[in-house]
Amino acid sequence: MPGTGEAELPEPEEQPVVYAVRVSARAERDAFEALAYLEESAGPEVASEWYRGFVQARSSLSRYPGRFAVQVAESRLMGFEVRRLLYRRPGSRNSAAGYHLYYLVREESDDGPVVLVFHVRHASRRPLTAAEAPALRADL
């Protein structure tokens, strides 16, 4: 995978390691912002659907969390191997409509193997491109 570090697809095991999934207050705040925005803008059914999918996606990290690639730039800044999972609400048509769950994997902790989710971020939040910046400056 170009420039991304490793995405590990392990050999199948008889008994896969089960990781506890833990979150930070920041990750919860991020997820709540997304949920509240969806509930307000799209209604309770869409918000509930998003919530169910979000829980399922996050829970999937309890098995083989190393299957998603290490994010090189983020890991360099943080000093730990940062990975991210892309979650899209069922039926969403493009990846920019999804959310990234940023997480770390710890093979050893007081709770055994653990996944630590520390940030939930809309996938379209990104730096301005060279083409977009002049247009924004012109609006100022």
């Binding site: 995405a7 697809l9 199948p12 509240a36 919530y51 996050r58 829970s59 998603f68 940030h119 939040r125």
Partner: protein
């Protein structure tokens, strides 16, 4: 949505199917492709992402993580509260 079909070597397909349930394979493939196409190790990270990474590091060093199920319960309660509030609003509107 566009459906693409890819051919995998037998051993890779077997490993994939051994570790992921079929309903998770699509999301997994999309995430990997997105990363492969978008990644630039030397890109400048947005400031708010840098802030989130610093906060994550502080939380890690201070051990400030808790079971995800606690968050789930609060989100579930929020949705239930909002459902009830909307029902009350609709009932009040109907009664007016």
């Amino acid at each position: 949505m566009k459906t693409l079909t890819i051919e995998l070597p037998e051993d890779l397909a077997a490993r994939l199917l051994a570790i992921l349930p079929p309903e998770e394979i699509n999301a997994f493939a999309v995430a990997l492709l997105e990363d492969a196409l978008d990644q630039d190790a030397d890109r400048e990270l947005p400031e708010d992402l840098k802030d989130a990474l610093r906060e994550g590091k502080e939380d890690l060093e201070a051990g400030r993580f808790y079971p995800a199920e606690e968050m789930d319960a609060r989100m579930e309660a929020f949705l239930q509260e909002r459902r009830e509030a909307r029902e009350r609003e609709n009932a009040a509107r109907a009664a007016a």
